[in-house]
Symmetry: C2
Subunit: 220 residues, 2 copies
């Protein structure tokens, strides 16, 4: 299967590397087709790794991971042609955080409470099935849930298309060691407001614990 | 010890009843000194239960629980004279939620992201030590942490005064069966922004699970 990964930061690189090692063909997308960080990643990876611009990576993937800086994500998404994303599953991991105003971090103006980055991405790519998940955990945990408490903790997911959410859950279980049944469906894409809203809280817990390698387990 | 409880709803009543049963003298405060719901609570409770207006209840308590509807809480707090709250511990349980615009609930305009209800209460009562806690769990769990997973889960706390937070943690451990060490300190009162911000997420998890009797356990 072909996967697109938008973003060359630590999150994008971690996911892209994990997937090439699992045998997927991965194209890392960035603003330009010859981005240096993407080129370095291709060079150090196996031959299933390629690079391109944002639209190339989206067109390449059956599944496309959005691993962009939240404050800039929409500019990147605008570079994707509608037909490149048509019918695709877009896994949105981004968080619209603003650390410039001190702690706790804030949600970027206009993207919180009655809106979310995921909803904006869904509006920008109406033919795609945007699924929000993974945004509430550290990048090391994203690709290997066993990094914390032997995988016994929870992930959250939302999106408008039930089949797409189901496929994403299976993808996470099959590739990243998330436990089946530990991915909690919060509903339509508007629930992304609440999944993005808990990340400033996550940052405060991180600060208190002194490690980003933790997660929330829902107990009853 | 004397305790003030502001609010006559299910949260206030549950806390007030739990505390009279533990042997505390509790004065329930409402807008008027002869509020019917407060009168009914006094009548059904033991002789340690009394009622008064918001200022009476605040002046009465060494510790004052704020159990008000978040959207109206500040109007109630304005009725408290500064000297009634001077040096007191104010435990703020409120959430500024707006359910009028559908799901997920939103944070009341002006009280989220760069602000919080707790910070507004602290500003309104500068001589008091406002401590935010308990706002992230169902009222049944507030007064008995054992209602979920034998008490093995986490509560969060913040406030500007370390001694006040320490006293509140001990109070919760001694009276409401919260486990020592399971109350995570997130810092100064500005962290209340993040504790209030996770409640719309809590509502979506509640909707997904079908029960409010759950909590978050931080696992590493």
């Amino acid at each position: 299967m072909n996967i697109g990964v938008l973003g060359t930061g630590i999150v994008g690189e971690t996911i892209a590397t994990a997937l090439t090692e699992k045998g997927y063909n991965v194209r890392m997308g960035s603003r330009t087709a010859n981005n240096e960080k993407a080129a370095a990643w291709v060079k150090q990876s196996n031959d299933r790794a390629t690079q391109g611009d944002f639209n190339d990576a989206a067109a390449f993937g059956e599944i496309v991971f959005v691993c962009l800086n939240g404050a800039n994500a929409l500019h990147a998404i605008e570079q994707i042609h509608g037909d490149s994303a048509e019918g695709k599953i877009i896994i949105d991991i981004t968080n619209p955080l603003d650390f410039s105003r001190g702690m706790p971090p804030q949600i970027v103006d206009g993207l919180g409470n009655s809106n979310s980055l995921s909803e904006e991405i869904q509006r920008a790519l109406p033919g795609a099935n945007v699924v929000k998940t993974l945004n509430t955990v550290n990048y090391k945990l994203m690709v290997d849930a066993r990094e914390v408490n032997n995988g016994d903790h929870h992930l959250f997911i939302c999106g408008n298309n039930a089949d797409a959410k189901n496929k994403v859950e299976h993808f996470l279980v099959d590739n990243f060691h998330w436990k089946a049944g530990h991915v909690i469906d919060l509903g339509g894409i508007e629930a992304a407001r609440t999944m993005e809203a808990i990340v400033p809280f996550w940052v405060m817990v991180y600060r208190s614990l002194g490690t980003p390698l933790f997660n929330f387990k829902i107990v009853k």
